[in-house]
């Protein structure tokens, strides 16, 4: 039995319907533990005070915002190469979630930046890159909405996703060249020197895992919706032919 059999819409529906309740529960548990731990059981930062706690939403949402695009890139490639409808519908399902996570990242960043840097917005490389990423999501979603024929839309958005990925990376480096910013370096990395203190790191990791689970749950849910919508479209088209 091959991995690709899960790309059959029928199998996917059956499997995802069985998995969703468990995933939802697990998400609620991990996210709840992470957020409560982070908000109530960690000390305030000696410089930043209690504002540091925004990190438990800011970092995970930014993490998802970037990786959602990565997931869309992979599923778009799978569609173009193997023509599995579920794959491209998952990409379509992930786009609004990625956009929402980008918005959350930007808003929490602004709320955090105001007391720390004294400004809501700064044309800092990371902030600017995220704004551009948001525009890429918007363009991708708008292209899906604008095209009537489902397969045409799937092909064109996939091509846009691939070309967009290249330009997103390019923009990132162009922006770094354009302005070195205020934003601190990576909050979490394998290089211990740079890291935030363990007291903050453990709940942060928990929150990130929680956000990943949340992302998977939402994508599965939305993919199921997209599959049903696609099915309805196919039925209507067939009705019209007959």
């Amino acid at each position: 039995m091959s991995f690709w059999e899960y790309a059959n819409p029928k199998r996917f529906m059956a499997l995802s319907s069985a998995a969703l309740p468990w995933l939802t529960g697990l998400t609620a548990l991990v996210l709840g533990v992470g957020l409560i731990w982070g908000f109530f059981f960690t000390p305030d930062d000696f410089r930043q005070g209690s504002t540091v706690k925004i990190i438990y939403i800011h970092v995970p949402s930014a993490f998802i915002a970037i990786n959602a695009w990565l997931m869309m890139l992979v599923t778009s490639l799978v569609w173009l190469i193997r023509r599995h409808h579920v794959s491209v519908l998952a990409a379509r399902a992930a786009a609004p979630i990625g956009l929402a996570m980008t918005a959350i990242g930007l808003i929490t960043g602004a709320v955090w930046g105001q007391p720390m840097w004294g400004t809501w917005w700064e044309w800092d490389p990371r902030l600017t890159s995220f704004l551009i990423l948001g525009l890429f999501y918007l363009g991708y979603i708008a292209l899906w909405e604008a095209i009537d024929d489902a397969d045409t839309a799937a092909d064109l958005t996939s091509v846009l996703c691939i070309v967009g990925s290249v330009f997103a990376v390019l923009s990132r480096y162009a922006i770094l060249f354009w302005n070195q910013g205020l934003h601190q370096g990576a909050s979490l990395s394998l290089d211990k020197e740079e890291n935030v203190h363990d007291v903050f790191a453990y709940p942060l990791w928990t929150c990130i895992i929680g956000f990943v689970l949340l992302f998977i749950t939402l994508v599965l849910l939305r993919t199921r919706t997209e599959i049903r919508a696609r099915r309805v479209q196919a039925l209507i088209a067939r009705e019209r032919m007959a």
């Binding site: 525009l135 363009g139 292209l143 064109l156 091509v159 691939i162 923009s171 162009a174 060249f177």
Partner: protein, 218 residues
């Protein structure tokens, strides 16, 4: 393919709209900005590189949706797709003719508008160089965007939304070249990056655009 280029240029001249409109739009932007910012020539001189590049970019955008839409509507695109011209070549020719009718005139007009915006003297060579090297990328990226939206009625606004984020790197390196030139700093790095982006889009995007057109004709 030369025949196609000649036909497109002839059409652009006879139909109007192409050349004139983009240039006039560029001029209007350069004239309007001082009204908004104030007549202080020190401030204008500082922001002139950015304004000229943003103006060039927006003027380019104006005529993008005509690249393929006109041929799509009158059926020529179907016939060209079945003709012995590879679609990739067709995209390349279309982008080049778009550049010849917008990017090139914009580049030639830019120094005059630089005068209006009191651009520092040292910056003029870099203004022309950066536009000359950078605007072909605008046309090729635009042709890719136009190929995605060719089947959509009134796709102009969507086209702008798709294409503008893709213009970010070109804009940054283009304006940065002039800014550094104006301040007497080294301009090699942004200019080389600009050239790299242009060559990259030239090499790769015709293939992506041709794939998109094939999907749209299906």
């Amino acid at each position: 393919m030369i025949a196609l280029l000649i036909r497109d240029l002839r059409l652009a001249i006879r139909t109007g709209g192409g050349f004139g409109l983009g240039l006039a739009f560029f001029l209007i932007i350069a004239v309007l900005v001082p009204f908004g910012v104030g007549p202080d020539s020190a401030i204008l001189g500082r922001i002139a590189p950015g304004i000229l590049w943003v103006g060039a970019l927006l003027s380019c955008l104006l005529s993008l949706d005509r690249i393929f839409a006109l041929d799509f509507e009158d059926g020529s695109l179907d016939l060209l797709a079945t003709a012995p011209i590879p679609l990739e070549g067709l995209v390349g020719v279309k982008a080049i003719s778009h550049w010849l009718t917008t990017g090139l005139p914009l580049t030639l007009a830019a120094p005059v508008l630089g005068l209006l915006l009191s651009l520092p003297e040292d910056a003029y060579p870099w203004l022309i160089a950066s536009l000359l090297i950078g605007t072909p990328a605008l046309s090729f990226i635009g042709a890719f965007g136009a190929s995605l939206t060719v089947g959509i009625k009134r796709g102009g606004l969507l086209l702008s939304l798709l294409v503008l984020p893709l213009y970010v790197p070109t804009l940054i390196f283009g304006a940065e070249t002039i800014r550094r030139g104006a301040e007497g700093l080294a301009t090699t790095t942004p200019l080389i990056m600009l050239g790299a982006i242009t060559l990259g889009t030239l090499a790769v995007l015709p293939f992506a655009a041709a794939a998109a057109i094939r999907v749209n004709l299906r």
